[in-house]
């Protein structure tokens, strides 16, 4: 009875006979809620941490990828320019070869003419000896 009156007044006793303003059940539920909230907050924090970590990892990965990409582009350009360089080098070498060829041709002409002169002289000597 007394309990009921007390309840009307909004007062309750719990198991430990302490006076309370909340219904024990409600109090119980509140406590549970509080616990659950706490758990929830903890979980959220953990999630945040994980997400942050994940983002960080992704970021580093992206920079790494970017770097690699640049490298790849560089390499590709290098290869391209290399072939250009080769071409230029080849051209230079071809020019040098052409020059050498011309020189060789000059020397060949000279050699041939000297050869002819040599033959002429031998012929002359032979004739000279025969005439004597």
């Amino acid at each position: 009875m007394a309990d009921q009156t007390l309840a009307k007044a909004g007062l309750y006793f719990d198991e430990l006979n302490k006076i309370r303003v909340l219904e024990p059940e409600v109090a119980q539920q509140t406590l549970e809620l509080k616990d659950e909230c706490k758990q929830f907050v903890d979980k959220i924090r953990e999630f945040h941490e994980r997400a942050d970590h994940f983002i960080q990892v992704a970021d580093t990965l992206s920079t790494a990828v970017e770097a690699e990409k640049m490298k790849a582009i560089g390499c590709r350009n290098l290869i391209k320019s290399m072939s250009k360089q080769r071409e230029a080098q080849e051209q230079q070498l071809l020019a040098l070869i052409g020059e050498k060829k011309l020189e060789l041709e000059r020397l060949r002409v000279q050699y041939e003419s000297l050869h002819r002169t040599d033959a002429d002289q031998l012929e002359f000597i032979e004739q000279f000896i025969l005439q004597k």
Partner: protein, 775 residues
């Protein structure tokens, strides 16, 4: 020949280098888009910043005031001309201080050159104007106005005309007002650079069609290069005009004046925007697009003479090879080699401070002599001495290093002398004048005294080449000249008194060379190759000229070939592509020359009999006639079936008086004047009169007769007979006068003539001249 190039690891300029110039043989100035003026000392390998130009000054061309002009106007310091993209040009001292700034053009001043005498300068700009300025930068005239930017300009050899470019054309405009310019299309692309050598008169051009071309001063193309990969950005003649350098992207070429390429270098320079030769012609500096300054010096200069070969292996060393015994010598010199020459058994080397004379017999101990000036531009060797030409004088040295003489002449200019305009023999030096190209100065080589009464010998046309024969006595010295019409003429040089006229030997001569051991002449004539075995035949008997020459088709030498050497029986011809072609001639004429110069006519006849060639006989006939050897001449003439000559010789042999025989010989050679002088001098007046009568020179005969008061009636009689035969009336006043004074009686005249001959027969041969001098 090739370039040995030096490039630093890192460029000294931070931007492209646009221009270079040599202050001295060891110092180069360079200037570029980083506005810095750098001085490169090649001895200490140091580079210093001389000065810095304002940031809006982008230099384009740099040209030092020519050193030769400093001789004349002493006291003027070294300055250079710098043109810039802001339309100004600067005259800058060697310390980098700007002495004068002149606002020259609208738009960039693309080219600027001092005239060769240093009296003025020409600038050409983007606005298409070509302007002439005084030495101090005062505007003299605007020479030309083109519709396109003028990229290049150059002075003519005499500084009396300017060559400039307009798009694809080359234009030569004389400075004299209202004179007509010469213009021709030079390239298919825009012409970027031109150069004109004062020594050879050859013009170089190069442009965006990636070719370079060589022209003569009339605009005839002598050479056109093959295509390059990039435009030709720079060109420069060496001071002596024998070689030139060509620059392009990563390309540096050394080319012969004929156009063919000595060597090709591919340095990593970027485009070479400007090239400049050092004053001694041994080094080149190039302004490179990547901020470098490339320095190159010419090495592997190769010389050959008989069995010796000399090659410059580095700046200071020469490798020598005797091909007969494969002996190698290495000559190390103290200073940089500037010029060398190998001929007549001696090698003359000129370094920057001394001259060395090596004999081929002894390579160990040269004669060393000090130079008056290091800028030696030419060495000409003869058998007994050699000639050195430097910036201001001409010296004849003996082979032991003594100066024999240093001839001078009015209007002397030595920087334009080359192997074509100077010729030296054992006793004579011939130099063609520059201001009047019709003149040849002749000097005695050992004393330096002028021949021809001290006056220059003059021809009626401009002379292109002079060449003296090398063998024989001074009295027989002959000079071959080629004139502007390419006619070859021969002149007999007199040691005393005035020279005669030159006699034509042939036409269309491109190039010629005397033999070193006998007076034979080889020449390239249009499409044939000719050797005159005895050129002096034209003074003796012109009819023999075709017989004493040998001709060959010159097709194997191609166009624009040049006779390089004529040693013994070997003639070397350089083709226009640079290759040397050897050809040989019969050795007999040379032998004949030797016999004749030593007066061994018996041996000469024996040789001719052995050879049995008309050429040899004809040469001998001419030589014998020239030496008044009647017997030999008779034999030779009969061998070539010249019956008339033999007959004439018989007639001469019957003449009892020696002087008369000599005169008849002279007459046979066609020298009527000489014959007459000879006769008059020896008192044979009658013969002199008869000589003039037989050559129908009546007036002269009468003059002689009247002067010596003899045979006037004979002359008149002959004249009357001549007039009667041709039904002519007397026109000469002299004869109408004397006709009245004498009476003609043919019997008496014939009697008198017979008496003269009788007298000659009775007289001892030499008494005639004595009688004359006594009376």
């Amino acid at each position: 020949m090739r370039f040995k190039t030096t490039l630093l690891d890192r460029p000294k300029h931070s931007e492209l280098v646009s221009c270079v110039g040599w202050m001295s043989p060891d110092e180069v100035f360079s200037c570029g888009d980083d506005h810095k003026l750098l001085c490169w000392n090649l001895l200490s390998n140091e580079t210093v910043v001389v000065s810095e130009f304002p940031a809006n000054t982008f230099p384009l061309e740099l040209h030092w005031l020519p050193k030769t002009s400093l001789h004349k106007t002493k006291g003027t310091a070294d300055v250079f001309l710098l043109t810039a993209a802001d339309g100004k040009f600067y005259i800058v001292g060697s310390n980098g201080r700007v002495e004068k700034v002149v606002d020259g053009h609208r738009g960039a001043v693309l080219a600027g050159r001092w005239s060769h005498d240093g009296a003025g300068l020409v600038t050409a700009g983007e606005d298409g104007l070509v302007k002439i300025w005084s030495r101090s930068g005062m505007l003299r005239s605007t020479l030309a106005q083109a519709s396109t930017p003028v990229y290049g300009a150059a002075w003519s050899p005499d500084s009396d005309a300017v060559l400039y470019t307009a798009g694809t054309s080359i234009i030569i405009k004389p400075l004299t007002p209202n004179s007509k310019p010469i213009q021709w299309k030079g390239h298919d692309g825009v012409i970027l650079k031109v150069a004109w050598n004062p020594n050879t008169g050859l013009i170089l051009s190069g442009g965006e069609d990636t070719r370079y071309r060589v022209w003569d001063s009339y605009g005839r193309q002598l050479y056109s290069s093959t295509l390059h990969h990039h435009p030709i950005t720079s060109l420069a003649w060496s001071p002596d005009g024998q070689v030139f350098a060509v620059g392009s992207f990563n390309t540096l070429r050394l080319c012969d004046k004929a156009g063919w390429c000595h060597s090709l270098e591919k340095p990593s320079t970027g485009s070479i925007f400007n090239l400049a030769w050092s004053g001694d012609g041994t080094q080149v500096a190039g302004a490179c697009g990547n901020g470098h300054v490339i320095l190159a010096h010419v090495i592997e200069n190769h010389l050959e003479w008989k069995n010796y070969e000399a090659t410059v292996t580095s700046r200071t060393s020469i490798a020598l090879r005797d091909v007969t015994n494969e002996a190698w010598e290495k000559l190390e010199l103290r200073d940089r080699i500037i010029k060398l020459s190998l001929s007549h058994g001696y090698m003359v080397i000129v370094t920057s401070s001394q001259g060395y004379i090596y004999s081929t017999r002894n390579w160990n101990t040269p004669f060393i002599f000090e130079l008056k000036e290091s800028n030696v531009s030419l060495i000409v060797q003869a058998e007994r001495h050699f000639l050195l030409v430097d910036g201001g004088s001409v010296f004849v040295y003996s082979y032991d290093g003594r100066v024999l003489c240093s001839p001078r002449w009015p209007g002397m200019r030595t920087d334009v002398l080359n192997g074509h305009t100077v010729s030296l023999s054992n006793d004579t030096l011939a130099i063609r004048d520059k201001t009047d190209e019709k003149l040849v100065h002749l000097f005695d080589a050992s004393t330096g005294k002028g021949l021809n009464d001290g006056k220059p010998w003059s021809h009626k046309l401009e002379i292109v080449q002079v060449a003296l024969d090398q063998v024989g006595t001074p009295n027989d010295r002959r000079m071959a000249i080629v004139d502007r019409n390419r006619d070859l003429l021969l002149l007999a040089l007199q040691r005393v008194g005035a020279m005669g006229r030159a006699v034509k030997l042939g036409g269309m001569v491109q190039s010629l060379c005397w033999n070193d051991g006998a007076n034979m002449l080889a020449a390239l004539q249009d499409a044939k190759f000719t050797v005159w075995f005895y050129p002096a035949v034209v003074f003796v008997d012109r009819d023999l000229l075709p017989l004493t020459t040998t001709e060959k088709d010159a097709a194997e030498f191609g166009k624009n070939a040049a006779v390089d050497r004529f040693l013994d029986t070997q003639i070397t011809v350089r083709r226009s592509d640079g290759s040397l072609v050897t050809t040989s001639v019969s050795p007999y004429p040379a032998l004949l020359h030797n016999y004749v110069t030593t007066k061994h006519f018996d041996d000469a006849v024996r040789l001719a009999r052995f050879v049995k060639e008309d050429t040899v006989w004809a040469c001998l006939a001419a030589m014998a006639t020239a030496h008044r050897e009647l017997g030999t001449a008779e034999v030779s003439y009969s061998a070539i079936d010249a019956a008339d000559k033999v007959h004439n010789i018989h007639h001469i042999q019957e003449i009892p008086v020696k002087e008369a025989r000599m005169a008849e010989m002279a007459l046979m050679a066609g020298h009527v004047g000489d014959a007459e002088v000879l006769l008059v001098q020896s008192g044979l007046i009658f013969r002199a009169v008869m000589l003039n009568l037989t050559t129908y020179n009546f007036e002269r005969a009468l003059q002689l007769a009247v002067k010596h008061r003899t045979h006037v009636d004979t002359v008149v009689a002959f004249r009357q007979r001549y007039l009667a035969r041709f039904n002519k009336a007397e026109t000469s006043k002299l004869f109408t006068q004397y006709q009245k004074q004498v009476e003609v009686d043919w019997d008496k005249i014939n009697e008198k003539i017979e008496m003269e001959y009788q007298k000659e027969r009775e007289k001892p041969t030499t008494s005639a001249s004595q009688n004359f001098t006594d009376s």
